[in-house]
């Protein structure tokens, strides 16, 4: 069994957590390597937190929030996407690969889509390999 991957998912209380709980309820066993951090709104997630996660050895970080134009706080999800794009640029310029960071827009009933998002991230980690800093920590 491949070495368990370190994937972090920031989920907003409305869209992201709803989808995550739905995925768990539907027993669609999404891999156990995902650690979910819940925030009131994705707008709260800062680029600094994303970069810290990678420095601590995370293989991939993704954020899951409400659908475009359907955000409970109007545009928290749009703010989060800007930060994910910034993170991608930094990861690319450092050679870690921008694909390790991603954002998914999910409605609170999209359990299957949440599982698919996890699978996408696992696929990327397998393609890009583990985070070289992961072994040290």
């Amino acid at each position: 069994m491949s070495q368990t991957k370190r994937i972090i998912a920031y989920c907003c209380e409305h869209g992201g957590m709803g989808a995550a709980e739905r995925a768990a309820k539907e027993q669609s066993q999404f891999a156990s390597d995902v650690v979910i951090i819940s925030v009131e709104c994705l707008g709260r997630v800062d680029l600094l937190h994303l970069l810290q996660a990678f420095r601590e050895g995370a293989d991939a970080v993704f954020v899951a929030g409400c659908l475009e134009k359907n955000c409970h706080h109007l545009y928290g999800n749009v703010e989060a996407r800007k930060k994910v794009d910034q993170a991608k640029r930094v990861l690319d310029s450092l050679g870690l690969g921008g694909d390790r960071a991603e954002m998914f827009n999910l409605a609170s009933n999209q359990g299957l889509e949440f599982k698919q998002s996890v699978d996408i991230m696992i696929g990327r980690v397998e393609r890009l390999g583990p985070n070289p800093l992961g072994a040290k920590k």
Binding site: D46, L47, L48, L51, Q52, F54, R55, V90, S93, L94, G95, L96, P132, L133, K136
Partner: protein, 233 residues
Amino acid sequence: MIIGEQKPLKEICDILEGHHRILVAGCRSCVAICLAGGEKEVGILSESLRLHSDLAGKGWEIDEVTVERQCENEWVREIAPKIEGKDAVLSIACGVGAQTIQAMYPKVRSLPGLNTSNMGAPIEPGIFMERCGGCGDCVLHLTGGICPIVRCAKSLLNGPCGGSQNGKCEIGKETPCAWEEIYQSLKELGRLDLLEANIPPKDWTPSRSGGPRKIVRPEAVMSETERQLRGER
């Protein structure tokens, strides 16, 4: 305000080559407001540099500090405890900050992490446009409050050149033609007559090309007796 933009991360990493104990210094005034060098950017840049150092095995020690204004000696003096044992300071304030730090700490290399660009204003959140070039001899009263020296690509003083079309400058669609805006502004003010008279060649001595400029406010300069009475602090 003074507007600047961080150097690309790769370039900063190259500039820091050969150094190990680095202090990233931010500033709370202009560069914070244009989202280039405030405490948040210091945090993000430092984290990115630590990430680079870990990945490339540089073994850098990155420390962070942000002062109220990096162009004032009193505030730059505040970073003394943090500068202890550092062999470089990466300033992401405007160029004035980097130079003030170097002047105060001659033993520590002061490196620029930011490209200071111009004096301007946000036309909407996140988009900043140049407004003033500091030419030292303002002509806004002749041009309806729009500066031709920096907002016209050729600093013309007598009306739009032949390349102005649809309100845009010949150098590109992104650049509005300053003289089209001047014409509309004077039309609105009912002062198109200001465009009739020819403005003679400009005296550029008070501008940058006249050499480094010094502005003196005599009433704030301490006289010799005051200096003696006050003593060194």
